[in-house]
């Protein structure tokens, strides 16, 4: 957890606001983080809905092609001058989405996505700890917590009248040392917070859920979902994309966000569709996040941020879906 070599400091709320205002052009903040910490923030920081907007934009040219002098040519897209923010203020759940899910998919050693790697190397995550959970949050269910951090990125926690800061060299400047008494208080506060949280899903939940693929409960669970796809586009962990050719004699290969909620997602050229109705697609979404991805990568594909629950126009609720399946599996852990 905490090594002696980790740099910690305390800074005043004034300094926090001032340094952020100074670095405004290099900063972005997620909407959720802004909602939680609005009182501490200076105005004018660029707001993004999810970290995906910076790391994995909704559309990107992967390469260009053109027809010249009776033959085709393929060209890499030159990198434009870098203008994206270099610091992203975000909540622990969103940071977990980047570090545990997006990085896992795009930076895998076989076929590292060079565009993602470039953007990721430039982006410094600044994790803002949450003082408490909100009604839509359920990070505890998937092994997260309101004060999760990866130990490498900067971490900031509002503490009494100040801010407790870990691992920051460049953004907030000099601070006061943290004395042992305060360290202990923070640690025990975090421990108490952790203990108050309901327990996570049982470790064998992914396998057990896999065994329930044919469970008739899915039909019921899938009923109200209208397959609009809003959830997948604003989910910080969803990374499915499409590759389409744009242009005839001159154009590019476009990578755009795609969604497993769309009927055409798995439509074969032969017109066969292995996921023909909403039930299969809803099941796919839940199973991918809570069963398939964890089975492959040993971590959940959902971070419990609750953004999907907030924006769903028909109040389809992924936490409810998981809880219903837990009941079906008759797992031994308590679900809040």
């Amino acid at each position: 957890m905490r090594g002696l070599t980790m740099r910690v400091k305390m800074i005043s709320q004034e300094q926090f606001r001032k340094r952020l205002a100074e670095k405004e052009n290099h900063l972005a903040i997620t909407e959720k983080a802004q909602d939680v910490h609005r009182q501490f923030l200076p105005p004018g920081i660029k707001v993004v809905k999810t970290p995906k907007e910076i790391l994995f934009p909704s559309w990107k040219e992967m390469y260009r092609f053109f027809f010249k002098e009776r033959s085709w040519e393929i060209q890499e897209v030159e990198e434009k001058a870098f203008s994206d923010p270099t610091f992203l203020l975000l909540l622990p759940c969103e940071a977990r989405a980047v570090v545990e899910v997006l990085d896992t998919n795009f930076l895998r050693e076989d076929y590292r996505d060079t565009d993602y790697a470039r953007r990721r190397a430039r982006l410094n995550l600044v994790i803002l700890g949450c003082p408490a959970q909100h009604p839509t949050c359920f990070c505890h269910l998937v092994g997260g917590s309101p004060v999760w951090r990866d130990g490498k990125s900067a971490f900031v926690l509002p503490w009494k009248e100040q801010f407790y800061v870990e691992n920051d060299e460049v953004l907030f400047g000099e601070g006061d040392p943290v004395n042992t008494q305060e360290k202990r208080e923070i640690e025990s506060w975090e421990k108490a917070l952790q203990e108050k949280l309901p327990p996570p899903l049982s470790p064998d939940f992914p396998e057990k859920l896999y065994a329930h693929f044919e469970d008739p409960e899915w039909q019921d669970i899938a009923f109200r979902c209208i397959n609009c796809g809003a959830c997948t586009f604003l989910c910080p962990t969803c990374y499915c994309f499409d590759l389409t050719v744009d242009g005839k004699l001159r154009g590019s290969m476009l990578r755009t966000w795609d969604s497993c909620m769309f009927p055409k997602f798995t439509l074969h050229a032969s017109s066969h569709n292995p996921r023909p109705t909403g039930k299969e697609r809803v099941r796919q979404r839940v199973m991918h996040k809570f069963s398939y991805f964890p089975i492959r990568e040993k971590r959940y594909g959902c971070v419990g941020c609750g953004i999907c629950r907030e924006i769903c126009p028909v109040n389809w609720d992924i936490k409810e879906a998981v809880e219903r399946m837990v009941k079906r599996i008759d797992s031994r852990c308590d679900i809040n």
């Binding site: 909704s58 559309w59 109200r224 744009d246 755009t256 769309f262 028909v314 609720d317 936490k319």
Partner: protein, 312 residues
């Protein structure tokens, strides 16, 4: 609203239908969600309040329910949707029992949050067209969804049973303020700026189109390869093309229910374009979608004496 009457009726209806498609309270505060009621014991769960905005008619088109006899709760806009679906041959009249719900308008959670900050359900008491917050009673008008502020049909024009009592006023005449009118009053340059800015934000998630009960095309023009109309890249020009194209495809069909706007995760006022198109249809064709089942939709009708030159 009218829940007792609704429950009594629903118990009787389950004798003649397999399911009742209605609303129930959501898993989060201030949310109402679509609900499939199958058994008489579940009837108690049916609710209808100021957040029951979803257009339930899209469930009539689902594979499982299409061939079954169902009852559906319908506000004015939903009932209009049913008329359009009937007209377009998507559902059979004998399969649908329409329970009409007179509606005073749906409250926008986003507008509430903007005004009151963080919300707690216990601070609010809801009446028909007013609500009480911390002792003060105020009108719901300013907090209604954009489409509800302009509504002309608070009472369903089509129903088999009517629950509750009719709304005695026309919301558009009562509330007078609405976002479309405001847009019409500003200069066209400013209007262009406004739309350009809003559609710059659009990420082409297609939630608006997918949520619309009348956008049921198997392949949308936005995704067609042959011919290739527009690029999936979410640039301002492609986004404008998509939204304008969709609004035009809805001309004479849009029932102004607001499902599109409700679904947009980025809170873009999506409905403004289809709403304006419907105003133009009213002006030029004196036609409103889903109101008179016998009138032919002007944009789906071919007549040899059509005054437009290009059709000849």
């Amino acid at each position: 609203m009218y829940e007792e009457e609704l429950h009594r009726l629903s118990v009787k209806l389950l004798d003649e239908v397999e399911y009742i498609i209605g609303y129930t309270s959501g898993t989060l505060p201030f949310r109402s969600r679509p609900f499939l009621c199958r058994k008489k014991e579940e009837v108690e769960l049916l609710t209808f309040d100021h957040f029951s905005g979803s257009n339930l008619t899209r469930y009539l088109l689902s594979k499982d329910l299409r061939e079954k006899k169902v009852a559906i709760l319908a506000k004015g806009c939903d009932a209009r949707t049913i008329t359009v679906l009937l007209r377009e041959g998507q559902i059979k009249r004998e399969n649908v029992v329409v329970v009409g719900l007179p509606c005073y308008g749906m409250v926008s959670l986003r507008k509430l949050e903007k005004h009151f900050g963080s919300l707690r359900p216990q601070d609010f008491t809801w009446h028909l067209d007013t609500f009480t917050f911390q002792g003060k009673t105020q009108s719901i008008g300013p907090f209604l969804e954009n489409t509800c502020q302009r509504c002309l049909y608070p009472n369903p024009p089509l129903f088999d049973y009517l629950v509750g009592s009719r709304v005695e006023y026309v919301p558009r005449e009562r509330w007078k303020e609405d976002s479309l009118k405001r847009l019409e009053e500003i200069s066209s340059e400013k209007r262009w700026e406004f739309f350009a800015q809003e559609f710059q934000r659009c990420i082409r998630c297609y939630a608006c189109r997918n949520a619309c009960p009348l956008c049921y095309c198997k392949e949308c023009f936005a995704e067609a390869q042959r011919p290739y109309w527009l690029s999936p890249a979410a640039t301002r020009s492609e986004n404008l093309f998509f939204h304008a194209g969709r609004a035009l495809h809805m001309a004479g069909r849009c029932v102004e229910c607001g499902a599109c706007e409700r679904a947009c995760p980025l809170e873009i006022p999506i409905a403004l374009l289809p709403l304006k198109v419907e105003e133009l249809v009213r002006e030029h064709f004196t036609f409103e979608a889903g109101v008179s089942p016998d009138r032919e939709p002007p944009l789906l009708t071919y007549r040899e004496n059509d005054p437009n030159e290009f059709i000849k």
